[in-house]
């Protein structure tokens, strides 16, 4: 079964807001799996005998407390006779998703194309916290900005400077930052905020209470979904 010929891949771009921004990546996967089941999408399943899973590929996991605007997820369908009508399926899916997760755009992609996750090169975030712009300017003055992180129980330090591609303010309290993502030079927003507290004088409270929105995920150095955006009308 499950050969690439019989598969179709529908790439969805989703926004998550409100309470749904506060669940973990695994919960997000489960939420999509169940919504797709309710909406009767012919999702392809992995063939492991003991723990088969629906085939969903999220471009980039999103942390607890981070909203998204245009995050891509690939839904692998088993649809050899091309019977599935994407538009109808989307209407059902939108009705099946809890308030707070919204499909903003979609496209059908080639099942043989390079995996979505492997194409991720970066992500941009909008971080709202009082005084964040000033703290950013104080922190990133050209030299290395080192923060420590714990990975596999080993403590190491990382320099955030090469992980940030671009940053600009929208007024004094909003920072829009684009950084690396995925396998290389991944920029974690919690580490960035930690650096802004340590070196830029950002208040601890401001960092903890920051509103963080992932604006886009970059695929092959371009914001995913750019140009294909079909702002879907409400059902």
């Amino acid at each position: 079964m499950n050969t690439k010929d019989e598969q179709r891949v529908i790439r969805l771009y989703y926004e998550r807001t409100g309470p749904l921004a506060w669940i973990a990546h695994l919960d997000m996967m489960r939420l999509f799996e169940r919504a797709l089941a309710r909406a009767a999408w012919p999702v392809s399943w992995t063939e492991e005998a003991f723990n088969p899973r629906p085939q969903l590929v999220f471009a980039l996991p999103v942390g607890v407390g981070i909203e998204t605007r245009m995050d891509p997820v690939d839904i692998i369908l088993e649809d050899p006779d091309k019977e599935f009508q994407v538009e109808d399926g989307l209407l059902r899916l939108r009705a099946a998703l809890p308030a707070g997760v919204r499909i903003r755009a979609f496209e059908e992609t080639d099942p043989r194309a390079k995996s979505l996750m492997a194409r991720v090169t970066g992500a941009s975030y909008r971080i709202e916290a009082p005084g964040i712009l000033e703290a950013y300017e104080k922190t990133f003055r050209g030299g290395p900005v080192e923060v420590s992180r714990i990975r596999k129980k080993k403590k190491s330090t990382v320099d955030l400077t090469p992980r940030i591609f671009k940053a600009e303010g929208e007024g004094e309290d909003i920072l829009v930052v684009t950084g690396g993502a995925g396998s290389q030079d991944h920029l974690r927003t919690d580490l960035l905020l930690e650096a802004l507290v340590s070196y830029g004088g950002l208040a601890e409270d401001a960092a903890q209470g920051a509103r963080i929105v992932r604006l886009s995920v970059f695929l092959d150095a371009k914001p995913a979904g750019e140009g294909i955006i079909v702002e879907m009308a409400d059902a």
Binding site: P19, L20, W22, I23, Q208, A210
Partner: protein, 623 residues
């Protein structure tokens, strides 16, 4: 969810575990705000549905979904959910003075009209106090005023809530489905008549199944034993009858349940296939208090399954009851469900299968969809002791069922036993060990190609706890020392890499026993334990036995764990759950004589529930 727009609230969420527990916003959750609040106060009832444990536990509970869906069907009622905050959240609530808020509209508990607790185990009592306190509701009924909610409790342990009676305004006995509308209706009527709290309680007391503890006073003998409980005023029933749904097919099922956004303990759709039990195991409270056994037909259940699948998207379906294997149409049901579940990769899980009702053909069908473990509950290691507890299963039955399970590919077996049962001796413990050995030998004796590749047997033990409304309500609980000896004996005797041995806390078993058969004198003990930090006591890692034993210092545990005299009064004698005290006493004597009693299928033993003439009882719809 306006709170999420506030930085301090977001900061708080980032500092706690699983913030989604406190945020709601799940699929199928019902938020009637703001329209509901525009209704005239006289016409609406705001109902705070509370589960005194963490979100993951409460959202796994079918009763919460049943109550939530029935209450919210009425447009004049807005039912919202509350769960106990975990320790990290509770700490912040105390430090910051944050009240306990409902998941739907974020309203504090104190603003609700009715507050309903669904109670399932005694070790959750301290969480009732915690939720009331955090919600801004005075913990004692007598301290509540006209602006405070009416606090009502129900659930499987409602048959003896005397230890928490002073904290509750009303207690509900039995099946609640048909009574909810009466309760909210009485509330609206008395509110619109301008009645106060006292009128409200009086009005509620007229509903069958409602017990107002403050209308009764308990008396004790000079030696400390319980004497009697009597109504304090005229017009109040001396005995309170439970409510009963006569035909379970007519009771609504929550076919559009709230689907949590985070993983919960039982993360699946659930159908209650039958209520009650025909077997009469002498330790089992629910087995007596939910009599008579009433089934839902395969047709009712198949229809419900279709809706549940469409409305939830869950990957597992549980067929729930005390005794699912006894369902008279189980095979038909499973055959009707499999074509719906299999193509959708939905696992069908059948908990509490009884060995003697385990059908090999059915086993094969289920095994095709699921290769999980198989669970048996022989409860005792020898036939003699199984006769004492009326668990009418033979070793032959068990080996036969295990053989078909092994041949169908099962490689994990879980066996449940109770330690400290009345009349238990070392021989009975040796019987557990022997049974496990026989099961291992059976597996080894099967040809390799006919059995699973590996075998793992889990022996899970708990300590017997005497419960009200069972034949063992007179029985003692064994001492601490005996508990330890029994546990050590088994731990040594079950050393085998293919066997895992699990046992329960000694201390929490004692506290549970004290609370189970307790009276109102325990209310100050519970309050004291809670004030000293007891909370979420059902969690092994949170249970603080020194706090409990120090709170119990004056009254002691022996008064509650000892054997009771046959004619001794019980604090629950004024409650009518169907089964009669006379029947239970007869069963207690039968058990001492090692004699079994047939199940309701094999003839009526006149337990008292036959007067309902429904379900499996003579004259009932299943007879």
């Amino acid at each position: 969810m306006d709170r999420l727009n506030h930085a301090p609230y977001r900061a708080m969420l980032r500092s706690i575990n699983k913030p989604a527990r406190y945020l709601g916003g799940e699929l199928n959750a019902i938020d009637k705000s703001p329209e509901f609040f525009e209704l005239d106060r006289k016409d609406r009832v705001h109902f705070g549905l509370c589960f005194p444990d963490l979100y993951e536990i409460g959202m796994s509970n079918l009763a919460i979904q049943v109550l939530y869906s029935i209450l919210n069907r009425d447009e004049r009622v807005f039912c919202e959910r509350f769960f106990a905050p975990d320790l990290d959240m509770r700490q912040i609530m105390i430090e910051e003075g944050l009240p306990l808020l409902s998941l739907e509209s974020g309203t504090p508990l104190s603003d609700f009209d009715l507050v309903g607790f669904s109670l399932h185990y005694e070790l959750s009592y301290t969480a009732i106090l915690e939720m009331l306190e955090r919600g801004g509701v005075p913990i004692r009924s007598e301290d509540r005023g006209e602006d405070d909610p009416i606090v009502i409790a129900g659930g499987p342990i409602a048959c003896n809530l005397e230890p928490v009676a002073p904290f509750l305004d009303a207690i509900f006995l039995g099946d609640s489905e048909e009574a909810l509308e009466e309760i909210t209706g009485v509330y609206r009527r008395i509110r619109s008549q301008g009645g106060g709290r006292e009128d409200m309680l009086l009005g509620l007391s007229a509903i069958e199944g409602i017990y107002i503890p403050s209308f009764y006073q308990a008396a004790y003998l000079p030696d400390g034993r319980f004497e009697k409980i009597l109504p304090l005023r005229p017009g109040i029933p001396a005995r309170i009858k439970k409510r009963l749904i006569r035909d379970l097919n007519l009771a609504p099922m929550p076919n559009q349940p709230v689907v949590p956004n985070i993983e919960v303990v039982h993360d699946r759709m659930v159908m209650e296939v039958l209520r009650g039990c025909a077997r009469g195991c002498r330790f089992c409270q629910a087995g007596f208090t939910y009599r008579p056994l009433r089934e839902r037909t395969a047709k009712t259940l198949t229809g419900a399954a279709r809706e549940l699948i469409a409305n939830t998207g869950y990957e597992e379906m549980g067929l729930l009851s005390l005794t699912t294997g006894d369902h008279s149409e189980l095979e038909d049901l499973v055959r009707a469900l499999l074509p719906m579940t299999e193509p959708r990769h939905i696992n069908l899980s059948l908990p509490s299968l009884r060995l003697d009702s385990f059908d090999p053909d059915l086993a094969r069908e289920i095994a095709q969809t699921r290769r999980a473990g198989l669970t048996f509950a022989p409860e005792a290691g020898t036939q003699r002791l199984r006769d004492v507890i009326n668990k009418n299963i033979t070793e032959e039955d068990m080996l036969g069922a295990a053989e078909s399970a092994f041949k169908n590919g099962w490689d994990r077996l879980k066996l449940y036993f109770m330690l400290g049962l009345p009349t238990e001796t070392e021989e009975d413990l040796a019987g557990i060990v022997l049974l496990v050995k026989n099961l291992l030998n059976l597996w080894e004796s099967l040809p390799r190609e006919e059995r699973s590749r590996r075998i793992n047997i889990t022996v899970s033990t708990s300590f017997f706890i005497p419960k009200p409304f069972t034949p063992f309500q007179w029985a003692p609980q064994v001492s601490f020392l005996e508990m330890r000896q029994k546990q050590q004996y088994l731990a040594a005797a079950l050393k085998d890499r293919r066997v895992s041995f699990q046992w329960h806390d000694f201390e929490s078993s004692v506290i549970e026993a004290v609370l189970s058969r307790g009276d109102r004198r325990l209310a100050p003990v519970i309050e004291e334990a809670w004030r000293q930090g007891a909370y979420l006591d059902a969690w092994h890692e949170h249970f603080q036995h020194p706090v409990w034993f120090s709170a119990l210092e004056n009254i002691g545990t022996d008064l509650y764990t000892r054997e009771r005299d046959l004619d001794e009064a019980f604090p629950w004698d004024h409650l009518d759950l169907g089964v009669t005290r006379r029947f239970l006493a007869k069963e207690w004597l039968e058990s001492k004589a090692g004699r079994t009693t047939p199940s309701c299928y094999d003839g009526c033993s006149a337990c008292g529930s036959q007067r309902y003439r429904t379900g499996v009882c003579p004259g009932g719809y299943m007879a």
